[in-house]
């Protein structure tokens, strides 16, 4: 039996974040536990922090044509994906388009334009909305723009499972590659920050009302809410044999995915659900808890969710170092899982994380990382996990 048959590998990655269009700069910030600066309003009063994308000029990567009606989330995704394809040394002119697939994770992308369409319709009249903006009313618009840009025809799927969406998109891509529904899959997560999303976060009770400095910090006992972020992370996935055949550089192996749901609000049940999810992902990857070198957590500073995850991690991985990237990049929602994957690849390749960047503060500097478990928890009881390994 060919044991390499079902192996899925990462061969390219790209990011657009508050650390520019540069995944190495992003990793450097995460690796060193950089915290975003506090923000103030016009009266110099502190306001909730939002980690915004900067040093971003879409035309540098995409040219000028066809960008006029694209939302930032679509631009971020397209740039991150083009970078990932370049990193994988895949020329989209020569790739077989009906074997190239796309999976996107995002949650709030249609919100701005659908809200604007409705408000305009009931206040000014339906003819005053822009027909050019109609594609932007639906959440799969970034994926659609990307498909046209890179001529991807195999499939084009958008997963919107909340804070677990990024990890779930990776699970979906693994499955599609194993089923041979594509030879190459671009998986990207993207979110943008705009006035409608800000309204949603604020009124859904996800933002803190005070103590902004402590908020958005994973597992911090006084954190009362999220520090939102925006941006996009994308990776190129292939079957191992195809990657080897074309001489690709393999950055890491995406071993397994699993997701569970806890249909009650009981913390004990959700802790059990979280443990079951992590255990199943590890078992599917034929690994053992003791071999996990690093947890890259989806914790985001929401007290109840973080508490559940921390209890689960303490039970299953009492001595394993935990990295919480959202302290540095914010809660990027649908993009979060992809940022976790990119971080894990860098962690495995660089094999070094500063002790103060880790969430379990007693940990010393981490110097040897071969296997990482990525975790995500959604507000309503979903939990997902992805196992990533050094490619050997």
């Amino acid at each position: 039996m060919n044991q390499n048959k079902d192996r899925i590998v990462v061969t390219g990655m790209g990011t657009v974040s508050s650390y520019g269009v540069d995944d190495k700069a992003l990793w450097s910030a995460i690796q060193n536990g950089v915290l975003p600066p506090m923000q103030t309003d016009v009266d110099s009063k502190e306001v909730p922090r939002v980690v915004r994308v900067n040093q971003f000029e879409a035309t540098e990567f995409l040219g000028k044509k066809g960008l006029q009606f694209k939302q930032y989330s679509s631009l971020y995704l397209s740039v991150a994906s083009v970078l990932a394809l370049n990193d994988a040394s895949i020329d989209i002119e020569s790739v077989q388009s009906d074997r190239l697939g796309i999976v996107v994770s995002t949650n709030y992308i249609g919100l701005k334009m659908s809200s604007k369409f409705d408000k305009t319709s009931i206040t000014e009249g339906p003819k005053f909305v822009s027909p050019m903006q109609t594609p932007n009313t639906v959440v799969n618009s970034p994926a659609s723009y990307l498909a046209i840009r890179i001529q991807s025809r195999a499939f084009n799927t958008t997963i919107a499972s909340g804070f677990c969406a990024g990890l779930d998109a990776l699970g979906y891509a693994i499955s599609m590659l194993k089923k041979k529904n594509a030879d190459t899959v671009v998986v990207g997560g993207t979110e943008e920050w705009n006035d409608e999303i800000e309204w949603y976060y604020e009124n859904a009770g996800l933002l803190p009302k005070k103590d902004f400095e402590k908020s958005g910090k994973a597992f911090h006992p006084e954190s009362k809410g999220i520090m939102p972020g925006e941006g996009s992370a994308a990776v190129v996935l292939e079957r191992y044999e195809d990657a080897v055949k074309r001489g690709a550089t393999i950055l890491g192996e995406l071993v397994s995915w699993y997701s569970c749901f806890t249909p009650t609000e009981s913390s004990e049940s959700r802790i059990r659900g979280s443990i079951r999810c992590m255990d199943t992902a590890i078992q599917k990857g034929h690994e053992y808890n003791k071999n996990i070198d690093l947890i890259i957590s989806g914790a985001n500073g929401l007290p109840e969710q973080d508490s559940i995850e921390l209890h689960a991690l303490n039970q299953s991985f009492p001595n394993t170092p935990i990295l919480g990237i959202k302290n540095t990049i914010g809660e990027t929602s649908g993009a979060g899982g992809l940022f976790q994957l990119v971080s894990s690849i860098h962690a495995i390749r660089n094999k070094k994380i500063a002790g103060h960047a880790l969430l379990n503060s007693s940990s010393n500097e981490l110097n040897d990382i071969r296997t990482a478990l990525l975790t995500g928890n959604n507000l309503s009881g979903a939990t997902s996990a992805v196992l990533v390994k050094e490619f050997i």
Binding site: S144, S161, G162, T262
Partner: protein, 405 residues
């Protein structure tokens, strides 16, 4: 060898009737469920026709969550899933709860929440519960179903515009075939939406009164709402427990036009690819296809593109295969439409009846010809394929097969 997938439970809410029996009876009688929209003021639009679920209150199915805090789409998803769950008659504990998943598709999510918030803001009401706003997000569509049914497997919402239902069905199939679950509740839901109405109104894509797929003088599509859910099980396990197996979900095919954000490929390139892939995945022969449930929106561009795709896949055989569009009766329920059509195909196989395309007058010579005009046909359906197309050139086709009873 890959696992075979049984369809063992069906639930549906639609403008022509809700519940499997009512829906089927109306469908094969050719009842048209689109009429003047009641749930929002259409006086600002130059059309007022739509399809709404009026015979059942979906909120009545919600027992654990507070229905007032849920959007219309989540309510519809829960109601359809409760119907399907009940229909499947799964004995308690036959599968561990964590081995049963939920995959729901929705294009618009709970847009009713945002629309009602806008109305409240205009009235000067600003005290809106945070839980209500939180539940506007797409993930609550699948998660609400998991909570109401007490299921602990993966709970995933897919949003690929109007192919969402078929995409969720194919994802559920993957989960069973890969051994992640033993059973899964799959489907799609979308509540009637004022912003969606605005979108299609602005695009000039809506018909004034009737949806007339494949008819020469067709005027466009009609926005509607609905939900449908199917319970899928590992075929061997379903047989072991003596389940009623309506049909086999035999395969699926996905593709993307990569052509235009709102228009289909003029020659149906992606649609042909998805159908070819679905047929291959299902291990069936083209000559065995006995019914095609068309996406059939009733727009000029869609129906021609789909027809060209069908001709390119089936060649000379095309005119011998009945092709119908039930959107002529239901309107276009967005992310729910393909899930509803999956239920229709399943029942067509189970009852050996092909639902009609209604409102047909003179056929469009550029379209498929064998469109089951205005009256259902009673004949065996061994293999049915169901197409779904969406904004962004997203395409998904599923294949359902009869099971020897």
């Amino acid at each position: 060898m890959k696992k075979r997938i049984a369809v063992t439970g069906l639930g549906v809410l639609s403008p022509i009737g809700s519940g499997q029996e009512q829906f089927w009876k109306a469908l094969i009688s050719g009842e048209v469920g689109t009429s003047e929209i009641k749930s929002f003021n259409t006086s600002l639009f130059n059309v007022n026709c739509g399809g709404e679920v009026t015979d059942v209150d979906p909120a009545a199915f919600i027992k654990k969550l507070n229905p007032e805090m849920l959007g219309r789409t989540s309510q519809l998803a829960v109601a359809a899933s409760c119907m399907a769950w009940s229909d499947a008659s799964l004995p308690p504990n036959i599968y561990p709860k964590h081995r049963i998943g939920v995959c729901m598709g929705s294009s618009l999510g709970n847009s009713s929440v945002l629309e009602s918030v806008h109305d409240m803001q205009i009235r000067g009401e600003n005290n809106i519960p945070s839980d209500y706003i939180l539940n506007s997000s797409l993930d609550t569509v699948a998660n609400s179903v998991s909570i109401e049914l007490g299921l602990e497997g993966p709970s995933l919402t897919i949003s690929t515009a109007c192919t969402s239902g078929n995409n969720a069905i194919s994802l559920g199939m993957n989960l069973i075939q890969e051994g992640d679950v033993d059973a899964v509740v799959v489907g799609g839901a979308d509540g009637i939406s004022r912003f969606c109405y605005t979108v299609f109104h602005r695009l000039g894509a809506m018909a004034q009164e009737l949806c007339q797929p494949f008819t020469k003088d067709r005027k466009g599509m009609i926005v509607s709402e609905g939900a449908a859910s199917l319970v899928l099980e590992d075929m061997e396990k379903a047989k072991q427990r003596g389940a009623t197996i309506y049909a086999e979900l035999a395969g699926y095919g996905l593709s993307s036009d990569a052509y235009h954000l709102t228009a289909p490929h003029p020659e149906g390139m992606g649609a042909a690819l998805a159908m070819e892939r679905a047929i291959e995945d299902a291990h069936v022969e083209k000559k065995d296809i006995s019914y095609i449930s068309a996406h059939g929106t009733g727009t000029k561009a869609n129906d021609i593109s789909e027809s060209l795709a069908i001709y390119s896949v089936f060649g000379e055989q095309t005119d011998s295969i009945p092709v119908s569009s039930i959107k002529s009766m239901l309107g276009h329920a967005m992310g729910a439409s393909s899930a509803i059509e999956a239920v229709a195909c399943t029942l067509a196989i189970f009852h050996s009846v092909i639902p009609p395309t209604m409102n047909v007058t003179e056929l469009d010579p550029k379209c498929v010809k064998n469109i089951v005009p205005n009256r259902a046909i009673h004949q065996p359906v061994d293999v049915a394929i169901s197409n779904a197309f969406a904004f962004g050139g997203n395409i998904s086709t599923i294949v359902l097969k009869g099971v020897t009873r």
